[in-house]
Assembly symmetry: C3
Homo-oligomer: 138 residues x 3
Amino acid sequence: MKSYRKELWFNTETRRQLINITPEVTKCIAESGIKEGLCLVNAMHITASVFINDDEHGLHQDYEAWLEKLAPEKPYSQYHHNSYEDNADAHLKRTIMGREVVVAVSNGKLDFGPWEQIFYGEFDGKRKKRALVKIIGE
Amino acid sequence: MKSYRKELWFNTETRRQLINITPEVTKCIAESGIKEGLCLVNAMHITASVFINDDEHGLHQDYEAWLEKLAPEKPYSQYHHNSYEDNADAHLKRTIMGREVVVAVSNGKLDFGPWEQIFYGEFDGKRKKRALVKIIGE
Amino acid sequence: MKSYRKELWFNTETRRQLINITPEVTKCIAESGIKEGLCLVNAMHITASVFINDDEHGLHQDYEAWLEKLAPEKPYSQYHHNSYEDNADAHLKRTIMGREVVVAVSNGKLDFGPWEQIFYGEFDGKRKKRALVKIIGE
């Protein structure tokens, strides 16, 4: 069994941002030399997400509005977590979007359907944060 | 290490439908010959879900009403994604329900608690779509 | 390839409770002898969750209030599932929080970012229930 590990680093200019990391994960799979296996990609922070969906600008606007409806950023005082912080909403938004994805590696490639793309979802950015890629297989 | 791959195909008659795929996944595990490992089951489309819950009709009605409350289908015009499409709600519903499950394989069987069942959740159906089963182990 | 399996048991005193199980999972990884691999931790019940977030009391109060807003426990009669049961809300709450996490094992340790902690989230407690830890790797 082979294993592979890499960290992907981000520093977004805005509090919230969705970044398509499919090219980076594709590179990791090539570097790993693994042909058949499983690839885990997870946020290493609890106010960020890794998820799979469509790379379509309108949908990303819908995500922003929808997450703000389900877990609004403001007023900060509505959350107990915000006595020393202001990012309780980011914890909740990441809960909706998910911490991680596990994807199949088949024939040395991401085993994806037609529109699947992997995103890093930042909900409390403007600082250095990272995601982990871990691949195991043969 | 062994690996196994199979696609499961669906073509639902309604826009939304929950299909119990536990028997198909059970067959995949038997076919794989894998006794100890991990089994990934994921939707290959971004408007569908694979999730684990109870096969109980009342609960499935509750899911339908609840998802319509959290991410209503109509009016279509409420979503930016719907300029050429009408399925933005399906992207959001699938986000709530999740893209994938990872289940343990132990002694050649799905390692499940008493009521766990695997479902394919279709949120934009009436066309051919599929899920992926990928198993690795020994 | 090595594999390891362990059940963690719980019996909460209240209907809902969040329990930090990071020490138990850390012990499992040590017991497994696996240095590089993937570790699945999942609820074996469909009204409970395993998720990763911060061990911060204010945030846990926020989760309680937020989940009650998104999927209220009462009135019980609002859910079809509650003809013989009263736990439909627990199925929905667990759907939001997720059934499982997959975490990387690197150098024989949980490969975690600075604040990641694993929780068992009970939403229909006061009885014996369990989570599964399954690790594969080398």
